[in-house]
Symmetry: none
Subunit: 204 residues, 4 copies
DNA sequence: CATGAATGAGATTTCATTCAT
DNA sequence: AATGAATGAAATCTCATTCAT
């Protein structure tokens, strides 16, 4: 009888929004943005087509919401790292391990962002959002390599990032979900590159 | 006024086909496959919509033709390399230089292939085609690193390939056509990695 | 905290109804009936969409209610006139002055009715309502001109009414709310037409 | 076998375009713009929905095309008048007769324009177009009344135009297509107004 | 009495493909 | 071999209306 409270409405909204975004991410990542229809998303999210437009002004808007969320998450990687160890090699190790872990479990986000990054038209709308995140990650990496004593930290940071993304790209391009991509081997090999910069004190 | 010979007809056909494929590649790479219409391609290729279907049975068919051509070209990279030098370091050098050269001038092909590779649905149709090419390149690289004496040649080959593709990916994702991506610096740094394996004595 | 009396409830109901109708009139007049959504009206009336259906069975019903109200008001123009003066010229004067006054302050009603009158489909539902009002006004005017001694009172009444509505139509069509429509001048000129029929001697 | 010539294509285009515009005008005038769907128009024009967009970029564009055509026609009313007679009273007579003739046969155009003129939102897009036409007609009328020797020619022109449009408005609002609107009577009465200004030479 | 989430029918628009010439 | 008009299916989007709370 009594109407729902604004809080209840807000919760319902959040749930529906989240479900839609989740399914949309899934589908966009698998099929691409332009190859995924609102109908598909609605069906996947178990929601009527019409409702989609209650939450997102347009398909473009939905995409933007997803990307924005993606970027706003994972904000504080470096902070987490710093709180665990101050040794730069160990931090690299953690980054690599973390990234490879992520890649195995949940590659949707990376895939979507990468696909978008390759489409100029879409990029223009997103570039502001993406630029920031990329830049921050890069700067963190540069500082890391500086502290490790690598000769050309900036170039190394670029190379490091490129290698990681390149691995994911190949992993994803190899058949259905990277079967027979030698992920572990590659990971080990990548880390070995930076072993020379391991801090001499207290190591194996 | 005299009727054209069958050969002339055939040549005209080939020219039209080529122009269509070229413009389609351009557009697909810039806007994505699903976001590019037949009309756009026809206009860009200065050809009527109807004529498109004289050359390609469907939009999908056009895409496949482009990808197939892409793959069939550049077939013989290693052969060219081998004919120039037998020193593996120099060959790596040439590969890297060549790739970085290509990236600056004509990235369309790489971009299109990569975009496609990320879309499962499209991939399925193409995977046969792509797998071959990737595999062959990989094997070549493994042999190269073996000859260089790198500890884990297979992993190194994977890393090497990933790094190259990662660089291109980042280059493309950085603003309009990679302005302010430090391509030269990165190239130098990448090559330095393999300098330790330079054969000091000049062999061949 | 004490429960409201039924009368209070009824009053609140009436207020809400009135506010909705007012805002709807505003929007319908500005944007047209089919171009105005229930959501817009609800927002403008500061009421939930659902509640709208508590007061009006449908959008059509809301429109009908507005038109009906419009018609039921202003019922007794002639009565008012008669009570003030019996001189027909003065009555014409009052009608004209009144109409021109109305036009400057609140043209919404006239506009809405006119827009509706031009749409056959809508008209059919409303025509019963509108016919009456028009007819009564017309008859009043005919009698007026008869008493003034105009040669063809019926035709004159038609002309008079047409001129008034035509003026309003032009006034509304001239830029934003009739800026630079010479309303005063036109009003004066219109009245001059009937000056010959002014009773020089004060009659009745 | 041989392709159609550009001229043939152009002719086909013009025919289809014309048919679509004609039917759209009919429907817009009867039902209103926002209350007429592209599907309805397509069906009426015996054409697929898709084809509509071959000729008009949008529904709005279609409307604009119709209005523009409407305005560009009937350009030279005054020129025609001048070529027939120089007597201003006779010209007025001709205008009135012509307008009343038009109103009986083909009121669609007037109706559509009038409906649009009442919708602010639509008007904004069209106002440039409409303003011109209105202004020109008005100026012509003012000059006419000047030559007739009417006391306040400007006000008279406004009144005259308003009366004409008002008559049409009432005619249209009276049941299905103005049955029982005394059009002839009103016409006669309107003309009588200007008889005093008939040129004294050679009259009845 | 009141809310706004949710629906579904239908509107506008797009586009690969066909076809008469 | 070549054209672009024409189609139809499907995509995006809108909105009056219903309903659980």
């Amino acid at each position: 009888m009594s109407p729902r409270t604004p809080e209840q409405f807000e919760e319902i909204r959040q749930q529906s929004r989240a479900r839609i975004m989740e399914e949309a991410l899934e589908l966009f990542a698998r099929q691409g943005f332009h190859n995924t229809s609102i109908s598909q998303i609605a069906k996947a999210a178990n929601v009527s087509k019409g409702l989609m437009y209650n939450y997102f002004a347009s398909k473009d808007d939905l995409l933007e919401a997803i990307v924005r969320q993606e970027i706003e998450q994972g904000e504080d990687l470096m902070e987490i790292l710093s709180s665990t160890t101050h040794d730069p090699y160990e931090q690299i190790q953690m980054i690599v391990t973390g990234a490879f872990q992520m890649v195995k479990t949940d590659l949707k986000h990376w895939k979507l962002i990468t696909m978008l990054a390759l489409q100029e038209e879409i990029m223009q709308r997103m570039s502001e959002l993406l630029r920031q995140k990329t830049e921050r990650g890069l700067e963190d990496a540069i500082r890391l390599f500086e502290r490790m004593g690598v000769p050309d930290p900036k170039a190394e940071a670029y190379l490091f990032g490129a290698t990681l993304d390149g691995i994911f790209l190949h992993f994803l391009s190899t058949g259905p979900m990277g079967v027979d991509y030698p992920l572990e081997q590659v990971q080990r090999s990548l880390l070995q590159r930076y072993e020379p910069y391991k801090t001499t004190t207290n190591e194996d």
